[in-house]
Amino acid sequence: MSEPRSPTFFRERFGVDEQSLARVLDGALERKVDYADLYFEYATQDSVALEEGIVKSGDRHVEQGVGVRAQAGERQGYAHTDEIDLESLRLATASARAIAQHAAQGSARAALPRRTDAGPDLYPIVSSPTDVPVARKIDLLGAIDARARARDPRIVQVMASCVAEHRRVLVVGSDGTFAGDERPLVRLNVQVMAEGPGGRREIAYQGMGGRYDFAQLEEPSAWHPLVDEAVRIACLNLDSVPCPAGAMTVVLGPGWPGILLHEAVGHGLEGDFNRKKTSAFADRLGQRVAADGVTVIDDGTIPARRGSLNIDDEGTPTQRTVLIENGVLRGYLQDRLNARLMGMSPTGNGRRESYAHLPMPRMTNTFMLAGEDDPEEILRGVDRGLYAVSFGGGQVDITSGKFVFSANEAYRIENGRLGAPVKGATLIGNGPDVLLRVTRIGNDLRLDRGVGTCGKDGQSVPVGVGLPTLRIEELTVGGTEG
C-alpha cells in the first residue's frame, strides 16, 4: 500500500482531486469544528450460489458514495450521498457542518493533504476477486456439490456459494490525512443437509475466506477439508442427544470458539461504551478481569485475514492492541472521536459498514494467546462437563455484561472422556467475570477460517477471532436435560 491506487481511481473516475477536496474540507470547517473528513467508497461485489446441484443465478453489485463528517466536541454531523461529484459534496458539507453551529470550541483549518505512510500491503493480490471469470466460480461450486454428495450417502442436499468483493476507499481529513486502501475479500460457504433413518434431518455449515486471491479458494487443500467437515458435522448431529442444562465446566475447542472473547470482553472494551461509561468494563483499566495467563489481543495487521485492514475507515493505520495482559485490563479499542475525548490514542479500530454509516470503534481480529497446557490433558482432567467445538452466532448486553454464544458441535464430557454429541445449545455468561474462571489454557492457539461478521448499531463489518483450547468453570449451558 506504499503507493495507494485509490486516490488516482477516485480522481480519474469522479474528478475529485486533492486541491478541490481541501477546499471542500475548508467549507466544512467554516463554523467552529474540531475535525472534518471525507470518506469515498467504490465497491464491487459478486456472488454465485448453488442449490439442487445447479447454479441458478449470479449477481453483481456496484456501490459508490461519499460521506462528509464534521466533529465538534462530542457531536458529529454526517451527510452522505451516492452521487460522487463536487456539487453533491458541497451540499453534504453544508449539512454536516450545520450540526456544529452551537459548538463552544474548535478552530481547525484544513491542513494540506499528505499521504499517510502505512506499512507494506497486508493483502496484495494478483487479480481482483471480482475480475475472476464467473465460470471458474461456478466450476468450484459444482465440484463442492459433487464431493459432499460422494462423501456420505446420507447427504441429501448441498447449498454452496462464493462471494467476492473489491472495495476501494479514500479518506481525506482536515488534519492532512490522505489515505487510500484497496480491499479484496473472498468467501466460500458450504451448507449440507444429512437425512438419517426415520427421516431425521440435520444441517451443518462451514465457511472460509479472507483478503486474498480467489485462486486460493480453488486449491483442493483449502476446500476439501471444508466440505468434509460440513459433511462430518451434519452426519454426527443425526445421532445427537439432548444437551444438558445448568452451570457446568465447559471446555472450548480452538479457533472459532474465540467468539467467546468477541462477545464476553471485546464489545465491552470498545471506546465509545467506555467513554460514555455504559460498559460493564468502564473505569476498570489496570484491574484484574481475567485469570493469570489470560492475554487477549486485537490485531488488525495479520496478513490476508478477513478482519485485517491496512488502514481503518478513518485513515488510521491498524495495529496490535493488548486488551488484557496476563489477566489485567490494559486497553480499549478506539476510533478518533472517542480517543480524543478520552485523552487516548486512536488504535486503528474506527470502522464502518460503508460510506452510508458513521465510523465507530470496532474489533478487527480478536484472540487469546496460547498457554502451555496440552489440549488432550485439558479434556482428561474434566469429570463432567461440555466440550464445545463449533459455534454459530453470539450476542452481548455490554451494560449488564451478559453474553451468549450458541454451540452447534458439542459433546458431553464424562470422566475425562468425550461422550455423545449433543444438540445445539446456547451458553450464557457474564463478561466481566467469565475469564476469571478460566483454569486451563491450551498450547494450540488457532484463528478461525475467516467467516466472522460483527453487528453493532445495525452496521456489519468482517472480523476474525481466535482461541486456544480453554477450560472454564461454571458456565451456564442452555440445554433441555436437567
Binding site: K56, S57, G58, D59, R60, H61, V62, E63, Q64, G73, E74, R75, Q76, G77, Y78, A79, H80, T81, D82, A96, A98, I99, V134, I138, Q157, M193, R201, E202, I203, C243, A245, G246, A247, K276, K277, T278, A280, L358, G392, G393, G394, D397, T399, S400, K402, F403, V404, S406, K423, G424, A425, T426, L427, I428, N430, T476, G478, G479, T480, G482
Partner: protein
C-alpha cells in the same frame, strides 16, 4: 415520484431485452432520511442521507428453463444503465437453466393503488430540529423519571422517506412512496454498583401516530429500573410467558419456517405439514399486506403482484405458506403475494404485516394464573434451528411466584423444541402490540427448561 426514476427502470428493461433477455424486471429504490441521537443534554450525531439504487434481473430462455442473473448499481447515468443491462444478460447466460425461474404468469396489481396510509404529505417537510426536539424530550423524561437513571446510550429519532418503482417486461410498471418515523430511548439505571439497560421505542408511518416523546422516555426508564437487582435462578422446568415483543420473535421464526424456500428445501421442520394441526388451538396467525398504515404494507409485492390477506394458522392448523412465484412453482402452488425484494436481490419471501390474533385474558390475568414461572422480556442470541425446531436462547425477564412478579431475572437460557412450544401455548393475551411488521400478544408456553445456576 420523479419521471426520471420510472424512465431509468423502463430504460434498463428495454436494454436488457435488446441485449437478448427473454424477460426482465427492475426495481428502483430511492430514499432520503434524517437521523439524530441525543445523549443527556447533548446532540450525539445528526445524519442526513440520500440514496438511490437500481436493480435488474435478466432471464434468458433455454430448452429446460430460464437462466437468470441480478445486478445493481447506484450509478444511474444512461451509459451505466446500458453497461449494466449488457452485463446482466451476459452473466445470466453463464448460469444453469431452471424450470421454475421466471416472472409471475400474470395477475399484476392495479397501477393506481388505493391509499394505504403509507405516509402523510405534511411530514415531508419535517425538520431535523423537530426530530432533535423529540429525542431531547424522550431523553429528558427518562432521566427525570427516577434518580437511579444515571446515564444512557441516548435517544434516537429518525425519519425515512422511500420511493419504489417496479417494472417488468410483461408491461407492469408501478410505483409507491412510503415514510417511516421512529423514536427510541435507551436509558441506564444504576443501583448498588450494578447497571441495567433497557429501551422503548415507537415507530409509525405518520409523525402524528408516534407515541409522545415523554411517554417513550418514561416507559424506557421504567423498563430499565425494573431490571435492577436481576439474578439468575436455579435450573428448572416451568411455564414461560413471552411478552408481546419477545412473542413476536417466535412468530418471526414461524414465518421463516413457513417460507416457501425453507419448505421446498426442507430446511423447515414444518415441511410437508400443510393442513396439519401444528400449534395450540388458541393460535391463529394472519399476514395482511394491505393493513392501512402498517409497517409492512405495500400495494404490490417485489414481483408486482397485489398484496393480500393470508391466514397462516387457523386455530392451530397450518393453512398457508408464505410464497413468491418461484417458491410457489417449486411447490406446485400459487404466489401469496409475499415476494420481498430489495434493489440488489432476487425475489425472496417475507411476511408483510403478520400477527397473532389476541386472546381473551390480559397479561396480568395470565401472570396471576401462573403459580411459578418466567416472564421473558428480552431474548439474546440466535439459538434456533429451523430444520429440527431445537430452540435455546439467552433470556432476561421477571420471575413469577404464586401469580405475582417477585424479582427480575438475568443470565438464564430457555430451551425446548419450537414445534412443541407452539403446541404447548396455553394462554394468549389481549395485548397485541404493533412495534414492527410482526406483532403478537403475550403468549404462555406451558413448559420449558430454564437453565441458570
Amino acid at each position: 415520484m420523479s419521471g426520471a426514476e420510472r424512465d431509468a427502470v423502463a430504460k434498463a428493461l428495454a436494454r436488457a431485452r435488446a441485449a437478448g433477455a427473454d424477460a426482465a424486471d427492475a426495481v428502483l429504490a430511492a430514499g432520503d432520511s434524517l437521523e439524530t441521537r441525543v445523549r443527556g443534554a447533548e446532540i450525539d450525531f445528526v445524519v442526513q442521507a440520500r440514496q438511490r439504487t437500481l436493480g435488474l434481473r435478466a432471464l434468458v430462455r433455454g430448452t429446460r428453463g430460464m437462466r437468470s442473473a441480478i445486478t445493481s448499481t447506484s450509478d444511474l447515468s444512461p451509459e451505466a444503465i446500458d453497461r449494466m443491462a449488457d452485463e446482466t444478460v451476459a452473466l445470466a447466460r453463464a448460469t444453469a437453466e431452471d424450470p421454475a425461474a421466471g416472472l409471475p404468469d400474470g395477475g399484476f396489481a392495479e397501477t393506481a393503488p388505493e391509499d394505504l396510509g403509507l405516509g402523510a404529505a405534511e411530514d415531508r417537510s419535517v425538520s431535523i430540529e423537530a426530530r432533535i426536539d423529540d429525542a431531547r424530550a424522550a431523553e429528558a423524561a427518562a432521566r427525570a423519571r427516577d434518580p437511579r437513571i444515571v446515564n444512557s446510550e441516548g435517544s434516537q429519532a429518525a425519519s425515512d422517506f422511500r420511493r419504489v418503482v417496479y417494472g417488468n417486461s410483461l408491461g407492469f410498471l408501478g410505483s409507491y412512496e412510503s415514510a417511516t418515523h421512529s423514536l427510541t430511548c435507551e436509558p441506564l439505571a444504576r443501583e448498588n454498583g450494578s447497571m441495567q439497560r433497557d429501551s422503548w421505542f415507537s415507530v409509525a408511518r405518520r409523525l402524528a401516530a408516534l407515541e409522545q416523546p415523554a411517554a417513550v422516555g418514561r416507559r424506557a426508564a421504567e423498563r430499565a429500573l425494573r431490571r435492577l437487582g436481576a439474578r439468575s435462578v436455579p435450573t428448572c422446568e416451568v411455564p414461560v410467558l413471552f411478552d408481546p415483543i419477545t412473542a413476536a420473535s417466535l412468530l418471526g421464526q414461524l414465518a421463516g419456517c413457513a417460507s416457501g424456500y425453507a419448505v421446498y428445501r426442507k430446511t423447515s421442520f414444518l415441511a410437508g405439514r400443510l393442513g396439519e394441526e401444528i400449534a395450540s388451538p388458541l393460535l391463529s396467525a394472519i399476514d395482511d399486506g394491505r393493513r392501512p398504515g402498517g409497517l409492512g404494507t405495500r400495494p404490490f409485492d417485489g414481483e408486482g403482484l397485489p398484496t393480500r390477506r393470508n391466514v397462516l394458522l387457523l386455530r392451530g392448523r397450518l393453512t398457508s405458506w408464505l410464497l413468491d412465484s418461484y417458491s410457489a412453482r417449486k411447490l406446485g402452488l400459487a404466489s401469496t403475494g409475499n415476494a420481498a425484494r430489495s434493489a440488489g436481490s432476487a425475489p425472496s419471501v417475507g411476511a408483510t404485516n403478520l400477527w397473532i390474533e389476541p386472546g381473551a385474558r390480559t397479561q396480568d390475568e395470565i401472570i396471576a394464573d401462573t403459580r411459578r414461572g418466567l416472564l421473558v422480556t428480552e431474548l439474546i442470541g440466535m439459538g434456533f434451528n429451523p430444520v429440527t425446531g431445537d430452540y435455546s436462547r439467552g433470556a432476561a425477564g421477571l420471575w413469577i411466584e404464586n401469580g405475582e412478579i417477585v424479582h427480575p431475572v438475568e443470565e438464564v437460557t430457555i430451551a425446548g423444541n419450537f414445534g412443541q412450544m407452539l403446541r404447548d401455548v396455553d394462554a394468549v393475551g389481549t395485548d397485541l402490540l404493533w412495534l414492527g411488521r410482526i406483532a403478537s400478544p403475550t403468549l404462555r408456553v406451558a413448559r420449558m427448561t430454564v437453565a441458570g445456576r
